[in-house]
């Protein structure tokens, strides 16, 4: 049985045991010893982080299923379907997610010296990485060819918008699970005009800049 098969099996124990070493121990036909869990998935909380990270990766893979379900709608509907499916993937493990995200953001410093060194710091990066990877997956699934346009501002703008929407919807889901999909739809509607707003803000900034340049020139500076 491979490590990835064990991880997939451990996902089935997440609703009852959370992202814990216990869930990992139950992944094999014969319950794994603590030493075995350490050997396969890491020491202490590192094993729990491994499980949670694998679960997040699986969630991104699972998003593909939304396209086959709602293949008829327009691009906006497809985006909604993709993000809504990702939110539904959270549901069985919802009560364990705050702890899991806290774990992912907790101190982690692996030293090659056999000395327990832990640097106290809170890391925002894992959370941002999670929402940006969901956004990237959604945008890629909507337009696989857009990967080649990775230098255009639209590429980043789209992903930033989707990441912000998904982050807000997921945070809302933690406090009000029943209303998360409605909240997601509202957010998508509200941010649909974002590119136009950004363009207008750019025009306004250019106008203000030119005005100041004229004032400075008229002063003989």
């Amino acid at each position: 049985m491979s490590r990835s098969a064990l991880l997939r099996q451990a996902f089935t124990h997440v609703p009852s045991h959370g992202f814990t070493r216990r869930a990992l121990a139950l992944s094999a036909p014969e319950e794994l010893s603590d030493s075995a869990v350490t050997a396969l998935f890491g020491r202490g909380e590192e094993a729990e982080k491994t499980l949670f990270q694998a679960w997040l990766d699986e969630g991104r893979q699972d998003m593909r299923g939304a396209l086959s379900e709602d293949a008829k709608g327009g691009e906006k509907e497809k985006l909604y379907a993709l993000l809504a499916r990702r939110l539904r993937y959270n549901e069985p493990a919802l009560k364990h997610l705050p702890d899991a995200f806290a774990l992912l953001s907790s101190p982690s410093f692996a030293s090659s010296l056999p000395i327990p060194l832990t640097l106290p710091r809170f890391r925002l990066l894992p959370g941002l990485k999670h929402v940006s990877s969901v956004a990237d997956e959604a945008c890629w699934l909507l337009a696989p060819s857009s990967g080649s346009q990775s230098t255009t501002p639209t590429y980043y703008l789209d992903r930033t918008r989707v990441a912000a929407v998904y982050a807000a919807a997921e945070l809302h889901q933690l406090s009000a699970p029943g209303r998360s999909e409605r909240f997601l739809r509202d957010l998508l509607e509200g941010t649909g005009a974002l590119p136009q707003v950004v363009g207008e803000m750019g025009m306004f900034a250019e106008y203000v800049g030119r005005s100041w340049a004229g004032i400075i020139r008229s002063r003989g500076m």
């Binding site: 036909p29 319950e31 030493s35 075995a36």
Partner: protein
């Protein structure tokens, strides 16, 4: 590890003899496949020798170094081998979930066995965990017995000693599916056939049991590797000459480390034997974890059925 060393005592030792931190209950390193009519060969340091020759040569090395083994380990590694062994055992955390039946192969002077028993007792008040020490070399095992006589474990069911070859652990003494934990520290590279040692380990472990190996490897940083090479080939044989009057054994030590498979290769060999390992990378959750920049590595695998 000591036991492995002991198991490798040679009848003839050509130019190079034994070394430190080597464990021994097996015949020497992996074999090179040859045509049917040619004898198969293996490595003894940088030398190529017949597979049947390596075991006695390694035996001889460890017989020579048995009495000075611990002193030389301290001198050569600047005491760091103790840190590595502490880390090795604490990462296995024996006793945390109840008593274990452990097999310490190439156990030699008992460094690992003693740490396992102490860890289980001091941290979890576990006096039921049992360690069976195995070594090919009776002299090394004798050093281990002597050492255990001054501990509380002497003459208790917690410790047992056997002279045996790691490649062919006898079924009557080491039944299949009987051990929870199989450790081998600084011993496997002295074996003639690493795959046979791994297969033997797989056989004796229970489903869910853990194979753990502490062994020298090569530093990954090129600059550090250069410094390490200089130290290995210049200082270690010199220390062997000064402290043990035995340059060749310590020359063999350095050479055998260079001939040992790289970390990814050894991880693949562990998987080929049937074990499940972590991701194919260095670090926590990986198939191996480098110590001191990769001078030594802890490899582990789990028998999952």
């Amino acid at each position: 590890m000591n036991s492995l060393k002991s198991a490798l005592r040679p009848r003839r030792l050509s130019r190079r003899r034994g070394h430190l931190l080597a464990g021994p209950s097996c015949r020497p390193l992996h074999t090179t496949p040859t045509r049917q009519d040619e004898p198969s060969t293996t490595h003894f340091g940088f030398k190529t020798v017949g597979t049947t020759d390596k075991e006695p040569m390694v035996q001889s090395v460890f017989s020579n170094v048995a009495s000075k083994y611990d002193v030389m380990n301290d001198a050569m590694s600047l005491y760091t081998h103790r840190l590595w062994k502490d880390d090795f055992v604490s990462s296995l955390d024996p006793g945390r979930k109840g008593p274990l039946n452990c097999l310490d192969v190439a156990g030699g002077t008992g460094d690992i066995a003693l740490r396992i028993l102490d860890h289980a007792r001091e941290k979890y008040a576990d006096r039921e965990t049992k360690v069976t020490m195995v070594d090919l070399n009776p002299e090394m095992l004798q050093e281990g017995r002597k050492r255990f006589k001054i501990t509380m474990y002497h003459n208790t069911p917690q410790i047992d000693f056997h002279v045996a070859n790691a490649q062919t652990l006898p079924e009557d003494i080491f039944p299949s599916n009987s051990a929870d934990l199989y450790t081998i520290a600084f011993g496997i590279r002295n074996c003639t056939s690493i795959p046979e040692v791994l297969q033997s380990a797989y056989r004796v472990l229970k489903p869910g049991g853990v194979f753990a190996c502490l062994e020298f490897s090569m530093p990954t940083n090129p600059l550090f590797r250069r410094v390490y090479d200089e130290y290995s080939f210049s200082i270690i044989p010199l220390l062997g000459t000064i402290l043990a009057s035995d340059r060749e054994s310590y020359q063999y030590l350095v050479e055998s480390i260079r001939k040992f498979p790289s970390q990814p290769e050894f991880a693949q060999m562990i998987r080929d034997a049937g074990f499940t390992t972590g991701e194919d990378k260095d670090g926590d959750g990986g198939a191996w974890r480098g110590l001191f920049g990769g001078i030594a590595s802890i490899h582990s695998g789990v028998k999952v059925q």
